[in-house]
């Protein structure tokens, strides 16, 4: 398979910068795969799993919301946070899940409710990606 340039950037660091043959990523519209020579494409990413083919092997990571941008020069993912499946702190994710669930029950305002929901989704995504490892 032909390879192409992939960059994953978070506010804290450049998470990945290198060549890959294929990625599979969850967008708001469903899972999509990107191979070399893909059309220019931009899509919103919710918290979801992300898989990248490196030396023939698929490696999994958790993406906590962001945007996918495919262009001729490179494919870029701008994510608020990203972790490889084996780097996920499961204890922390579970605590965060419990906290989000508690807040969902307690809060009354729409705004707080929405934030708690997003937090819960991020936590559940981390837990599910970590268990697939």
């Amino acid at each position: 398979m032909r390879s192409y340039k992939l960059k994953i950037i978070t506010p804290e660091k450049i998470f990945f910068d290198g060549e890959t043959e294929q990625i599979i990523v969850r967008t708001t519209e469903g899972d999509i795969g990107v191979l070399a020579g893909h059309e220019n494409y931009v899509s919103d990413l919710p918290a979801g799993p992300f898989r990248v083919r490196l030396d023939g092997q698929l490696k999994t990571a958790a993406i906590s919301g962001g945007v996918l941008k495919v262009s001729k020069e490179a494919t870029t993912i701008l994510a608020m946070a990203a972790e490889w499946a084996d780097e996920i702190d499961l204890e922390w994710a579970k605590r965060s899940q419990a906290d989000a669930e508690k807040r969902l029950k307690e809060t009354k305002s729409d705004f707080e409710h929405r934030l708690a929901e997003l937090k819960l989704k991020r936590a559940l995504n981390r837990i599910s990606v970590s268990s697939k490892n």
Binding site: T10, P11, E12, T27, V42, S43, V67, S71
Partner: protein
Amino acid sequence: MASSNMKDIKRRIKSVESTKQITNAMQLVASSKLRKAKEKADSSKPFFNAMYDTMCEIVREDATFTSIYTRKRKANVTLMVVISGDRGLAGGFNANVLKLAQQRYNEIAKDGHEAVVLPIGKKAVEYFEKRNFKIMTRYENIGESISVYGAMSIADKIIDVYNKDKIDKVELFYTDCISPLVQEEKHMALIPVNIETDKTNISLTNYEPSPESVFDSLIPRYIAGVLFGAIVNSFAAEQAARRTAMENATDNANEMISNLSLVYNRARQAAITQEITEIVSGANAQE
């Protein structure tokens, strides 16, 4: 008389020495914190640049593009996000950014508009509370350990208030850490987003679900990215400013100590000379 004078000088030397110990320690702490903070500040830049480019591309590609985040509203109420440090003794660091914000506030007030402040950092909170400014939310002691999620929760709050039409404009005041020796106070418009639309590279791109919806969902992440970058940069700038200030203070203390030592030694010499003169003249008188 001479001996009491000498005691005074000795005491002053001691006090300057203990001050010097403190400034020296603060300088060391600041430079070790600066190294970490500068790294964090530098690694926040690629995200911001890529995010901003993506947003500009969306707007550039579609001539009919509109979003509530790019349209200018009549600026009745401006939210000023002001980032300062949590502690003093950092030279002009806190004063400079607060002065910039105050100037902008005066301009807004002169035009007959209203301004609300969102201070980040203890010094900014104290400054605006003392002057009875309208404060939306205050954040203290978050600069050193700010996480992306911390920045996101601030961004979400700002966007929520903006969407409820309580504010019409958001401006950011922070200090950019350009290098360990150069810090610069910055003032930037956060919402409406200032988009550069030079129509140069137009490429056909497929946006899913739509350019508008991608753009609007980018906004909270963009604001969070900008805030995160501004907070970590301000923190790095604070450490850099403190290091420089404390370095100067240590140098000054050294100079004072050497001057005082000179005066002390002179006084000691004078006292000895006087004593000898007294003994000699006493001996002479007995002959």
